[in-house]
């Protein structure tokens, strides 16, 4: 089964004619994803790759193709508008890949999204994938994934691929993988994804990857302690980051003692998580926990 995406997922790509949008719409389709529509204002009536109809508005795309997932590749200045357009049309799952949206724009956008019956993942995220149902909604390389029973959740892109690669190399497959995004304001937090994995019959073990900045990992740890019964293997990166410097992600900055890697690892240990000591040990720790279950 997996989480968020399945065989019934019908994907609409906002920004499908842009460089990134067209590239990843194509790799998604090649992977097996059901891309039913594209949206690019001013290009309505055309077809993407001679097959996917393009519309000027989400409203028209919804009317004609009934998508239930939107994947957004719109540049930062226009992405909040694209998110609101998808939310206004009540597309149940909105995944925004765009990096670099000004925080002050997201403050209002997130309130609007929360007022609608939709879920936003991202922005500044790699998206989500369900290898069993061959549904890839994001920028991850599909080929490294393998169907299985490990649910992966992380903030970042390439580090998630690293985790998946280590698992697949050991023959361990994934039920789903989700990157929730590296920005300070994001639509879906770790707790939401942990709950989905807890309820997913195909997920037996969870890999939870966090990083420095904010306190989202501590809140997740508190939640794991009381509400998550499946084993959680956790890794925090950024132990060597200096305070006050932004480590690539807008949110990855140490601004106080709680934002450090050590504080987060301590909280996860206290919550009973299996601590992954270094980023090179993700596969090994999961294999060990699986063999004991």
């Amino acid at each position: 089964m997996g989480i968020l995406l399945n065989k019934e997922s019908r994907i609409m790509v906002q920004g499908i004619t842009g460089k990134e949008g067209s590239f990843h719409a194509t790799t998604g389709i090649e992977y097996g994803t059901n891309v039913v529509a594209g949206v690019t204002p001013g290009k309505g009536g055309q077809k993407f790759n001679d097959t996917v109809p393009i519309f000027n508005t989400v409203s028209e795309a919804k009317e004609a193709t009934n998508p239930n997932v939107s994947l957004i590749f719109v540049p930062p200045a226009f992405a909040p508008d694209a998110i609101c357009e998808a939310a206004s049309n009540e597309i149940p799952l909105i995944i925004c890949i765009t990096e670099g949206i000004p925080v002050n724009d997201m403050v209002g956008t997130i309130r609007y999204v929360q007022s609608k019956p939709v879920r936003l993942i991202g922005p500044n995220c790699p998206g989500a994938i369900n290898p069993t149902d061959r549904c890839k909604v994001g920028i991850m390389p599909g080929a490294i994934h393998k169907p299985g029973n490990v649910g992966v959740v992380s903030r970042s892109g390439t580090l998630t691929y690293e985790a998946v690669h280590q698992l697949t190399s050991l023959g361990i497959g994934q039920s789903s993988c989700v990157g929730i995004g590296g920005d300070p304001i994001i639509g879906t937090n770790y707790i939401d994804i942990l709950n989905l994995y807890e309820d997913d019959p195909d997920t037996d073990i969870i890999v939870f990857i966090g990083e420095i900045g904010g306190t989202m990992e501590q809140e997740a740890a508190e939640h794991i302690k009381h509400n998550i019964n499946k084993p959680v293997c956790s890794l925090i990166v950024g132990a060597t980051a200096p305070a006050g410097k932004r480590m690539g992600h807008a949110g990855a900055i140490i601004t106080g003692s709680t934002a450090t890697a050590a504080s987060k690892v301590a909280a996860l240990k206290d919550a009973g998580c299996h601590i992954i000591p270094t980023p090179a040990d993700i596969g090994d720790v999961v294999a060990k926990v699986l063999s004991h279950n």
Partner: protein, 386 residues
């Protein structure tokens, strides 16, 4: 992007907020004129992008021209080391000459993002002059928060809360209310990520004055603030970091000797962590980004190679959007341009990995290949320096 105190105060003036009269000097010979305008009894404040300035001797009360001259000749064009800088410190390229302010009460006031509540928040405390991090550690209950809901904006009752809790005198409250509303407007207008006044002062004649001012502007919003770009002071930035910023590369200078080239922020942090754990010491964080082309990779590698403390280079590329052959071409190109002989450990995975490795193998560069992250970390820690 950080602003200096004098720049922040100029913006405060544009919003009709009270700040002390001042003159900025960048050369010792401008001091006479400045003192003639401000008075010989004044405060000299070094303009640097670093906190802890006062404790480090960056602020000086003087009462004669001779005293002022001695201080300026000591400080101007020297480096100021504070607890927030490295051992080299940051250069003092200008000094603000400011009139004395008659202080009754000192307060702390700031606006910044509250990540948990997903909105900007006002932070205030009666412990003006203290660093807010210290207050948060020792007396967290002394900090007052008022969240700004984006749907309705800051409400008057929230300002009344601040006035009550900060014990603002009745005759200062209308100036205080004006200040809060103006600061909130300014926060949005310039896309600040931090706006801080420490201390905010109430004078004996009950005026509300911003005695200091600190602003960080959000980097992701700079695309709509071309007017503010001229306020950037590169002298305050690490020179390699400034170069990387210009190229759109996420780069942080660290203290070790292993230059690191990685794609993706999370993987870059992970690469630093494993390198460290293997006993080697990273010279930098570098995320070249997903959509990089050969030229951007080459420039990123050139920044690494131009860092004098780098003796060896670790490359960790997970090819997705960024193909391994593009990364390899960029690396080779940078080595050719800089004529560098530094050895590399290369770990590549994903799209076009065979082509990428082939390019490096035939390049004549001193490359050791690694399959996994742990192999790469081990290889770089045991690799002989050049």
């Amino acid at each position: 992007m950080k602003l200096h105190e004098y720049q922040t105060k100029q913006i405060f003036r544009n919003y009709q907020l009270n700040v002390p009269n001042s003159v900025l000097i960048t050369e010792p010979k401008e001091l006479d004129h400045a003192l003639a305008t401000i008075g010989e009894k004044c405060v000299l404040k070094c303009q640097v992008h670093a906190g802890g300035r006062g404790k480090a001797g960056g602020v000086k009360l003087v009462s004669t021209l001779t005293e002022a001259k001695a201080y300026v000749s000591d400080m101007l064009m020297s480096n100021l080391v504070t607890h927030q800088t490295d051992d080299a410190g940051v250069p003092v390229t200008s000094i603000l000459v400011e009139e004395l302010t008659d202080i009754k009460t000192e307060l702390y006031l700031a606006i910044t993002l509250d990540r948990n509540n997903q909105c900007p928040t006002i932070l205030a405390s009666k412990a003006g002059g203290m660093e807010i991090e210290e207050v948060a550690e020792s007396n967290p209950d002394d900090i007052i928060y008022e969240n700004i809901n984006p749907s309705v904006g800051l409400q008057p009752f929230q300002i009344r809360n601040l006035i009550t809790k900060l014990e603002i005198p009745k005759d200062s409250s209308s100036e205080f209310s004006y200040l809060i509303n103006a600061l909130v407007k300014m926060f949005y207008d310039i896309d600040a990520s931090l706006l801080e006044i420490n201390p905010l002062v109430i004078t004996n004649d009950l005026k509300v004055i911003a005695l200091d001012g600190k602003v960080n502007i959000e980097d992701d919003a700079m695309f709509r603030h071309n007017d503010l770009l001229t306020l950037r002071d590169r002298s305050q930035e690490d020179q390699l970091e400034a170069e990387a910023t210009d190229l759109g590369i996420a780069y942080v200078n660290l203290s070790g000797n292993v230059g690191c080239l990685v794609n993706g922020a999370g993987l870059a942090m992970a690469t630093l962590d494993v390198t460290n754990q293997a006993g080697a010491s990273p010279a930098n964080f570098l995320d070249v980004g997903g959509g990089a082309d050969i030229e951007k990779v080459a420039k990123a590698v050139s920044i690494i190679l131009s860092d004098p403390k780098v003796t060896k280079v670790l490359v960790n590329i997970f090819g997705g959007i960024l193909r391994c052959d593009i990364a390899a071409d960029g690396i080779v190109s940078a080595y050719e341009r800089t004529k560098s002989q530094l050895p590399l450990v290369v770990r590549m995975l994903g799209t076009n990995v065979d082509e990428g490795q082939q390019i490096l193998k035939t390049s004549g560069l001193n490359v050791t290949f690694a399959e996994t992250l742990s192999e790469a970390a081990l290889a770089i820690s045991t690799l002989q320096d050049n």
